[in-house]
Amino acid sequence: MSVIAEHGGIAEHIHPEPQGFVRKYIFSLDHKIIGIQYIITAFVFFVLAGCLAELIRIQLMNANGGFLTPDVYDEVYSIHGSAMVWLVVIPILTGGFGNFVMPVQIGARDVAFPWLNMISFWIFPIAGLMLFSSFLMGAPVAGWTEYPPMSLQGGAGTSMWCAAIFLVGVSSTLTGMNFLVTMLKMRAPGMTFTRMPLFCWGQFATAPLLMIATTALAAALAALFMERQFGVPFYDPTKGGSPVLWQHMFWFYSHPAVYIMILPAFGIMSEVISVFSRKPIFGYRLIAFSSAAIALSGFMVWAHHMFTSGIAPYMQLPYMVLTFVIAVPTGVKIFSWLATMWGGKIHLTTSMLFAIGFLVLFTFGGISGVFLAAIPFDLHVHGTYFIPAHLHFVLVGGSLMGVFSGMYYWFPKMTGRYMSELWGRAHFVLFTIGFIGTFLPMHYLGAQGMPRRVATYDIQFQGINQFESICSFIMTAAILIFFINMIYSIRNGKPAGHNPWGARTLEWQIPSPPPYYNFKRIPSVYGLPYDFTEPLPYKHLEEELSDTPVAVGAH
């Protein structure tokens, strides 16, 4: 069925586009459609998990609780955390943006294994529905970390949770493998690793984390499932198991997982800041290599989550020092983005505003991470509200700000239309204010003595908690604006043309939305995509826009 065309001696396959609705939009093999499917599905779960977050905040309006029973409250925050990590941030950054953008950026027509890609995607909504359905049979209560023996006591839904997270892990592992092979084998001629866009470097550093770390989690989950369903004693100390074993295996996955959730966002930052500063990215090589350094060292720090678990004292030190060391490549990235802004012609578009918000908030979360890495201070704040404060600063202030920045940036590529800049700014301002008001005071609450995962708390903290809840409503309003803006703009946004931001990476040199085959002819690459003063470093792109009217829009 394939049409074979000869171009400059290179035989190239262009498969015909499937015509039926089901093959085109449901069980699609096209990485762009799959990427959008990931994004839509993740946003649906984002809304559900966000509603759970608001239930948490409503409960905490009153020091004596009363809105939810303690058991229901425990279920709510457990599913909130699990869903946000596994069903929202990881899928949207890897499966979503990774799928949509990465193959085009390296000049490929699709990922290496399109069928596997489709399977990865379809596992994900099924796993998500399984996770939420655990509410029907008594959801897990022990938080997203599900430490045994508590998780052995949890409701029947805890086993469902194990199965759902296991499945979502399979999806992640397949995606990681697929991306790794794609980036190793399918780069366009001349697209060397040192010419690859930094978003792809972010994905390239993430892929091995997805492949290797997720398998450890799968083993831990399988063991927990077997212990719960069949009584195989892995974790129950009364039967000779070890509860600390779970913690090691869980964090061996979940610490790399925080880099799975931030490295692609770093990649988005590198693209967005360079394009909107109208300036080459500063220190390309150092940014690229620091991603790899973070990914590598991310495997060697997991026990810093366990300083209070009684691991041998001398074993704590290397974990502490290595965790401090990760601050260096992370700092290098932040300084490099700052230097990219220096001397630029900065367009303060919504996408750029979110990138600036990312820099401000993620740096704060990174610094509180250094506080937590220092064992003596960690012994004080571990298990308190300082932890949710830190993790929301890096996950919401970092990853989610990156997601929003990427959405406003690539939305014109996905749909051919802009999202409203006016409402985008409203979204940015309200979201940032709401976010800081919700999570900044949590550092103080934790240091002062409020433990996390509590349905009721000491009356002295009630005022601050009420303030936080009100700010969280502002954040919800901002999210509502975002979704309305996005859905409205799909059909009614201003037409944007193929390259509204004047960007130089490959995905902006083809029509919006990109055709099924991406490139009529695979381009050749002879330079970095960040030299704004030079002509584009690509050959064979002349025909790409020939049959598409080039609309120059205004944003």
């Binding site: 058991d71 508590m150 090589r285 367009h347 600036i356 002062q448 390259n499 004047g502």
Partner: protein, 382 residues
């Protein structure tokens, strides 16, 4: 706003490219901003070193080595103030100073600056040096935590759903209400759990360690300030986790401590330490149970969780008034008939189910004789 057009796709205007010639050297404005940020961060640094205590940020400090943690906090907070002021200050300054102005042509570009090896080396090496310094300081304080005196009082605390119990040397049984410590005496606190993982935290002492079933974790410290300190569980442990903060650590002068200790020792004279005498398991001889001894035991050990009220009057477990005589509840929580032998069986083997969790004999420290006494007492409640 106008569009960012592709420089290749549209004709350049005359003025475009002017910005390319812009100097990459920092100018006066940059140094002025740098100086202002320096002053702000200096204010932050001075603040964290000059405040007499870190109480605005952390709870009042109650012992050694918690004071060491406060020093590390001051160091990290002042370093963070320096770094964060500069990062945020520069972001805001650059975003304003280098914003595209309305007068700029559509396709104006920033300076063509790719890298600066010296600058990149600097911001790799300087943070590395800082990380080494921070590691050295943290390890020093970590070391202080490891070498606390081992010759003081040894206390054992056991986390249970959802309260803490405390064991003292030379006293049988477990204290269930509060922990007493003499001031200025080093304490070795051994922590473990009777069920799931708990965590023992006294914010004022800046010390925390998990209570893990099957493992004994140790923390050593010296309380230096007389007072009453809240003990908080910081590891999620089930329905009652939020309420597992009601007990306190009482730090008192030696004389007062000894008075409490001896009084409690006397009250517990009748308790045979089940773990010490190893009369666990086996058939319980219910005959000859001592009602008075059972009553004392109930008040000492059971009343923390069980009210002397009707079944639905719950503290942690159900109320036990009339448990053996209530016609509306002919069955016990585990479904067995409410007869003395079955009550003894629950006291011996514990119960975990829809009502909650009742510790078993190995956890509740009751000997077979104690159980007989308790059942005799429960039988008198109508």
């Amino acid at each position: 706003m106008r569009s960012l057009s592709d420089p290749k796709g549209r004709k350049h205007r005359k003025r475009s490219g002017a910005s390319v010639e812009q100097s990459t050297k920092p100018d006066r404005g940059f140094w002025i901003v740098t100086a202002i940020l320096g002053l702000i961060s200096l204010g932050g640094i001075l603040y964290f070193w000059m405040i007499p205590t870190v109480e605005p940020w952390l709870p009042p400090e109650g012992g050694h080595p918690g004071d060491q943690v406060d020093w590390l906090f001051r160091f990290m907070a002042s370093s963070a103030a320096l770094l964060y002021t500069y990062v945020v200050g520069y972001i805001i300054y650059f975003a304003i100073r280098f914003r595209r102005r309305r007068s700029d042509p559509d396709d104006a570009l920033g300076v063509n600056l790719h890298d600066n090896p010296k600058l990149e080396a600097a911001w790799t090496i300087v943070p590395t040096l800082f990380v080494i310094l921070l590691s050295v300081l943290s390890i020093r304080i970590w070391y202080v935590l490891q070498v606390q005196p081992t010759n003081g009082l040894v206390v054992e605390s056991i986390g249970r759903q959802w309260y803490f119990t405390f064991r003292y040397p030379d006293v049988n049984g477990e204290v269930t209400d509060q922990m007493h410590l003499p001031v200025n005496v080093p304490v070795t606190l051994n922590l473990t759990s009777g069920d799931v993982i708990h965590s023992f935290w006294v914010p004022d002492m800046r010390l925390k360690e998990d209570m893990i079933p099957g493992i004994i974790n140790t923390i050593r410290f010296t309380p230096t300030r007389i007072g009453t300190y809240q003990i908080i569980c910081t590891e999620f442990c089930g329905t009652g986790h939020s309420e597992m903060n009601k007990q306190v650590m009482v730090v008192q002068p030696m004389a007062a401590y000894q008075k409490w200790y001896h009084g409690w020792q006397l009250r517990n004279a009748h308790v045979t330490n089940a773990l010490a005498t190893a009369t666990l398991g086996g058939k319980i001889q219910l005959a000859g149970g001592n009602v008075a001894a059972g009553k004392a035991l109930f008040n000492e050990k059971c009343s923390a969780c069980h009210a002397l009220g009707p079944f639905n009057q719950r503290i942690v477990g159900p109320g036990l008034l009339g448990v053996l005589h209530d016609p509306s509840h002919p069955n016990l929580v585990n479904g067995d008939l409410a007869v003395p032998a079955n009550v003894a069986e629950i006291l011996q083997n514990g119960y975990t189910g829809s009502i909650g969790h009742m510790p078993n004999q190995a956890q509740n420290g009751l000997s077979n004789k104690d159980i007989a006494n308790l059942v005799a007492y429960l039988n008198t409640l109508k």
